[in-house]
């Protein structure tokens, strides 16, 4: 099977259908693409990484939080190892920053000591308890009332969008088909065995289906008559700061956790920004990504307990992400209601870290329930490298321009992203279809002007490369049109209204 990506037709049948193009679904599809199987991943949005995967902390947790014996504990540590092995080849930006859990008094120091023991049980290497001086030496901007910290050298940061895109692109490269703007509307079940998935783009016959539908995974399960779990969306708000203050912190700084969450953190990003967040608020609407004045004030207050001098004047954007919380642990395993359906659901933190390990676990489970796995001799484990003009030295930049003049035209001035990089982001095996899709892949529009300068230019490049009118270019979701023609306005309605 030749891989593909986009809002095209569904094949009539597949060996495995993966539902959901978040980091978990894409990691599963990539793992499946190692074998002689026809794999179809369906995603309701126009792009991968548009749900939980697009708005999270971007942290590869070391693995000391989870209770030993849980899926979280097992998959976190394995996932962190897999990123270390895979990231470079898949084009996933990752930085081994280490992480600190900061304690502010003797009671918190006890909690931190407990975390260390739990981490040792989970097989996390290198954990150390640091005293105040060690912490301050490593993080000069940290609150002076710090008492000490747990140092986890294997904690790291990653780009969550490019993690998802990296897995998806590699899956497509190895023959998987990703069909976007395709939502599940039902299953065909015969004798308690899944036989087909019905979607908004028609039917695909399949006896093995993976439910990686994130915030909608309980709804998907219910379509197969399975109400064994529920998903509670838990919203977290973030503030992202400009790269000019990227030196504020050197590593991921967690507060000492409470029962609900890991707390408000202050962290660098792989692209040199700093963020604060998230809070944790249970909500009802799985699409409600509104930030709130109270929420933002809360994360500012929380972050100031770790880093008192926050550069609030350099905030470049605020956003909210939704965690798909099911319970204490991930929901991983065969559906009790329908044979052939396997869940990878309830993937909250450390879900991003665990994703490639979830891919391994799910494929093993599919084998257990009867899927035949024959390794694919032609499997290519890496993606084509995409040069990042800004990061290269002048000689390499000059060579790139000599090969493709569009490397000489800077489109996003804040992040120094060239036209050639944007074209490559659109024309790659899992290419951008939307303005935000371009932003998530190459960062055009992710800087301090937030696309004020490059937005119209990126829109024009998308229209040209996709062969669509400017009025058909979307921001992110299926109906997020950006511009009208004068005729649309005069007619009182646009094709996209």
């Amino acid at each position: 099977m030749t891989g593909s990506f986009g809002a095209g037709p569904l094949p009539e049948s597949a060996d495995v259908v993966v539902i959901g193009g978040g980091v978990v679904g894409c990691a599963i599809a990539r793992q499946l693409s190692r074998f002689e199987l026809s794999v179809v991943l369906i995603e309701s949005a126009p792009d991968v990484a548009t749900g939980t995967s697009k708005a999270n902390s971007g942290i590869l947790h070391a693995g000391f939080d989870a209770e030993p014996g849980t899926w979280k504990a097992r998959l976190n540590v394995r996932g962190a190892q897999l990123y270390a092995e895979l990231a470079e080849g898949l084009g996933i930006p990752r930085k081994a920053t280490g992480s600190l859990v900061v304690a502010r008094d003797a009671v918190q120091m006890e909690t931190v000591a407990d975390l260390r023991h739990r981490g040792i049980d989970n097989g996390v290497p290198g954990l150390e308890i640091w005293n105040r001086d060690q912490v301050v030496a490593h993080e000069p901007n940290i609150s002076p009332d710090v008492a000490g910290a747990l140092w986890a050298p294997t904690g790291a940061i990653v780009c969550p969008f490019l993690a998802t895109v990296g897995f998806a692109e590699n899956a497509v490269r190895n023959g998987a088909r990703i069909v976007t703007e395709c939502a599940v509307i039902g299953f065909e079940v015969a004798d308690r065995q899944i036989v087909a998935v019905r979607t908004t783009r028609g039917r695909v016959a399949a006896r093995f289906v993976v439910n990686a539908a994130g915030l909608h995974s309980a709804d998907v399960a219910r379509l197969a008559g399975d109400d064994s779990f529920t998903i509670r969306p838990r919203r977290g708000e973030y503030i992202l700061f400009d790269r000019s203050v990227g030196q504020l912190v050197n590593t991921v700084l967690f507060p000492t956790p409470d029962k609900l969450s890991k707390g408000i953190l202050v962290s660098p990003t792989v692209h040199g920004n700093v963020f604060i967040g998230p809070d944790a608020v249970d909500i009802d609407d799985p699409e409600d990504r509104e930030t709130t004045a109270g929420g933002l004030a809360g994360i500012i207050a929380g972050a100031r307990r770790i880093v008192p001098a926050l550069p609030l004047g350099t905030a470049i954007t605020e956003f909210a992400g939704l965690r798909a919380a099911a319970g204490k642990d991930f929901v991983i395993g065969p559906s009790p209601a329908a044979r052939g359906l396997v869940h990878a659901a309830g993937i909250q933190s450390p879900g991003l870290t665990s994703a490639p390990a979830i891919g391994e676990a799910i494929v093993e489970m599919l084998q257990d329930v009867g899927l035949r796995l024959r390794p694919k001799a032609s499997f290519v484990p890496v993606n084509r490298q995409k040069p990042r003009f800004h990061d290269l030295d002048r000689q390499v930049q000059a060579r790139l321009i000599a090969g493709d003049r569009l490397y000489g035209r800077v489109i996003c001035r804040c992040e120094t992203i060239t036209e050639a990089e944007i074209v490559a982001a659109i024309q790659s095996p899992c290419g951008a279809r939307t303005v935000d899709g371009v932003k998530r892949r190459v960062r055009a529009g992710a800087g301090r002007c937030q696309g004020g300068f490059c937005g119209p230019r990126v829109t024009a490049i998308l229209a040209r490369e996709l062969g669509i009118p400017v009025t058909a270019v979307r921001k992110d979701s299926a109906n997020s049109w950006l511009f009208l023609s004068r005729a649309d306005l005069e007619a009182g309605e646009g094709v996209h209204a």
């Binding site: 990504r289 000489g408 035209r409 001035r413 300068f453 997020s480 049109w481 511009f483």
Partner: protein
């Protein structure tokens, strides 16, 4: 990489870069180069198709492109070189300017003088932390203006404008002309940030309401904007409970301030003024790095392009003289501060005066609106100069020529704006000497 040598290079070919280059050439710089990232000269003027430009500079009312083309034509009549479609990647102390373009690739220019003329960018929703969702249909006013005036596409049908900056006011009128419905302009401050003439000609003439003292507390919508929530604010700009109301719209245009686009200066280590976000300069528009000058909106945000041209000419002349080795060293540097009633002053420091210099022109922004006022110069703590101002608005620059003899030998200068005492008649424009 190919290398070139120039006397004066301007980074940017908008109104500041063009005026600086022309003035530099006229002042005797032999080799002058303009580096412009767009495909034509003119900068932001090219998308400002309304009129109102040039009343001071050309004594007639021009459109933005009309104003730009006066300069494009003047430059065309000289031997100034212009590199279009060219982005500057770095400008390092010593005058090494590295640029990139699709047609010529990477190029290095060794310049005796560099003029920063990169203009400004728009403040974003993120910078003012407006809560809510992030649907399509939220644009900065200038980005929308470019789409409408240069690309021919419209950003929505039912428009709300947040902030009363001039671009927002101009876009209120433009969108009305295009057939969209502009429902309101919401401004958090108790006064407008736009020019009075734009309030009248772009809002009042079209019956578009301006809500002062109102803040947007949420933007709603999942795919596309569906509306916003607005509340009144008190004099500390805090939301007043119970005043919230919703406005349905499919488009939000933000006009909430401009920020000098100073990343090249910051990367080179230029000392910046934390209030203007531009370089700290002397009366020659010298920055803290020898041979580097700044002018226009990259130095401080102007209200009228006419002032940009004038200021850039100062920088261009200085750059030419520096290139020829004729610009004297700074000598004793004296700080100039914006005191009571003022937010900004440019220049922020004075170098030694040239022989025969009679006055120095200063540009100010007021901290708050005031009626009849006095602009005062306090030199080393003593009142040295006073000038009557009929009215003071933060949206309009105050421009004042201060006689050199009033500045005298003072080590520190502080400007203030204070309410005028009653004894001065409202129309009295006589300079009162202290």
């Amino acid at each position: 990489m190919r290398e070139f040598s120039y006397d004066v290079v301007t980074i940017g070919g908008g109104p500041a870069g063009m005026a600086a280059a022309l003035a530099a050439r006229e002042a005797g710089a032999e080799r002058v180069l303009i580096l412009e990232r767009d495909r034509e000269l003119g900068g932001i003027l090219q998308q400002c198709i309304h009129n109102g430009f040039g009343l001071r500079r050309f004594e007639e009312e021009l459109t933005g492109p009309g104003y730009a083309h006066r300069y494009v034509d003047m430059i065309g009549a000289t031997d100034i070189d212009v590199w279009l479609d060219t982005t500057v990647l770095a400008a390092e102390p010593g005058g090494v300017v590295t640029s990139v373009s699709p047609h010529a690739g990477l190029q290095v220019v060794r310049a005796k003088s560099v003029v920063y003329a990169m203009g400004c960018r728009e403040r974003t929703r993120g910078a003012i932390r407006t809560p809510g969702s992030r649907p399509a249909g939220v644009f900065t006013a200038g980005a929308a203006q470019r789409m409408v005036n240069m690309e021919g596409y419209l950003p929505g049908r039912e428009v709300v404008i947040v902030g009363s900056g001039d671009i927002g006011l101009i876009m209120a009128r433009r969108m009305t002309f295009e057939g969209a419905r502009v429902k309101a302009v919401f401004e958090i401050m108790p006064y407008s940030n736009g020019l009075t003439r734009n309030i009248v000609q772009c809002l009042e003439d079209f019956g578009i309401p301006l809500y002062l003292g109102h803040s947007v507390t949420a933007i709603h919508g999942k795919d596309r904007v569906t509306g916003i929530t607005v509340s009144q604010v008190n004099d500390r700009l805090e939301v007043i409970d119970g005043t919230a109301f919703d406005v349905a719209c499919d488009c939000v245009l933000l006009s909430v301030g401009l920020i000098p686009e100073n990343e090249l200066g910051r990367a080179a280590g230029v000392v910046l003024d934390p209030i203007t976000s531009g370089a700290r300069v002397d009366q020659f528009r010298r920055t803290s790095i020898p041979g580097f000058f700044a002018a226009g909106n990259v130095l401080h945000v102007h209200d009228l392009v006419d002032w940009v041209s004038e200021e850039a000419a100062i920088a261009g002349r200085s750059a030419a003289r520096h290139a020829r080795g004729e610009l004297a060293a700074s000598g004793r540097e004296r700080p100039v501060t914006a005191g009571e009633g003022l937010r900004t002053v440019v220049p922020q420091r004075l170098s030694d005066f040239e022989p025969g210099k009679m006055s120095v022109r200063f540009y100010f922004r007021a901290a708050r609106p005031m009626g009849a006022s006095l602009l005062q110069l306090w030199a080393d703590g003593a009142l040295a100069f006073e000038r009557k101002l009929r009215v003071v608005k933060p949206s309009e620059m105050i421009v004042a020529d201060i006689p050199v003899r009033k500045i005298g030998d003072a080590a520190a200068l502080d400007f203030r704006v204070v309410p005028a005492p009653d004894r001065i008649e409202a129309d009295d424009e006589i300079e009162e000497e202290a």
